[in-house]
């Protein structure tokens, strides 16, 4: 059995999942901190 399709699928899933998790956490943090900053500047 050719192992390369399995290796490629594993790398694609793991790296896409890790990138999605990192980016979603980053954007959620940026959004939440911007909102908090806006509110503290406004008050």
């Amino acid at each position: 059995m050719n192992p390369w399709p399995f290796v490629a699928a594993a790398y694609a899933i793991a790296l896409t999942g890790t990138a999605a998790l990192t980016l979603s956490s980053w954007f959620a943090m940026r959004r939440a901190e911007a909102e908090a900053d806006k509110l503290s500047r406004g008050s």
Partner: protein
């Protein structure tokens, strides 16, 4: 640890640490995976499919490390009532669950060309699947408690009790010998059955993913602290 329990002090450290951990982790992962794919040799029996090890093993370690972090933070929350402990425990849950899922999927993809099957109900695989379900339960419970403005004590107890699964996962390959291979690296004795040419990319990949995991936890903690701040301010403004 008590020193970092203050949110303001924590943020002062977390702000420069987040990009540092994230970028160093990303660079290390890229280098380690390139080495694993192009420099490390194929395994004598498993052939090229062994290259999945550079993702599968770090993901497994981080899935377990995520729950260990939840258990430690939960203990600190219950015993010392650290204000950041509950935030830290909740922040580790999503990345922990994600890496457990990655471990299961990559293990399945490794199993098919090596064992001839995607799945086998053996001790190691089943206990990792149980860990994923524990993460789902923890996330659901944490969400429900937060919605009801609870202190998160029930979630913390669940986090502590769930840690019982960690030694089961670790020792499963010694207690039940089925398809999954036995222990290859013994950190306590400092020994490994993996050849050095394959071991160093594996350890570099594990370190890279660990640094990135740390950055993700910090990002999620900072996001929750900012949301809590907004919520508290809005409540105060409503009262005034």
């Amino acid at each position: 640890m008590h020193v970092f329990a203050n949110p303001a002090r924590f943020l002062k450290i977390a702000r420069p640490l987040t990009p540092l951990l994230g970028w160093s982790g990303a660079v290390l992962i890229a280098g380690a995976l390139c080495a694993g794919l192009f420099l490390a040799p194929a395994e004598r029996l498993q052939g090229e499919s062994v290259r999945i090890i550079y993702l599968h093993v770090p993901a497994a370690w981080l899935g377990m490390a995520g729950w260990a972090a939840i258990a430690v933070a939960s203990l600190m929350q219950l015993v010392w009532r650290h204000p950041l402990a509950a935030v830290a425990a909740r922040a580790a849950a999503v990345p922990g669950a994600a890496f457990t899922a990655i471990c299961l999927v990559t293990g399945s993809l490794w199993g098919r060309p090596t064992w001839g099957t995607y799945w086998e109900w053996d001790g190691r695989m089943t206990s990792m699947l149980v860990l994923l379900f524990l993460y789902f339960g923890y996330l659901a419970l944490a969400g429900a408690e937060k919605e009801k403005d609870g202190e998160g004590r029930l979630t913390a107890i669940f986090g502590l009790v769930g840690a019982v699964n960690l030694p089961i996962i670790h020792y499963s390959v010694l207690w039940w010998r089925t398809l999954h291979q036995g222990q290859s690296i013994d950190f306590l004795r400092g020994t490994s059955t993996i050849d050095a040419s394959m071991l160093w990319p594996l350890l570099a990949s594990a370190l890279g993913f660990s640094l990135l995991f740390g950055a993700i936890v910090l990002m999620r903690m900072r996001a929750e602290l900012a949301r809590n701040k907004v919520e508290a301010r809005l409540k105060r403004m409503t009262v005034e």
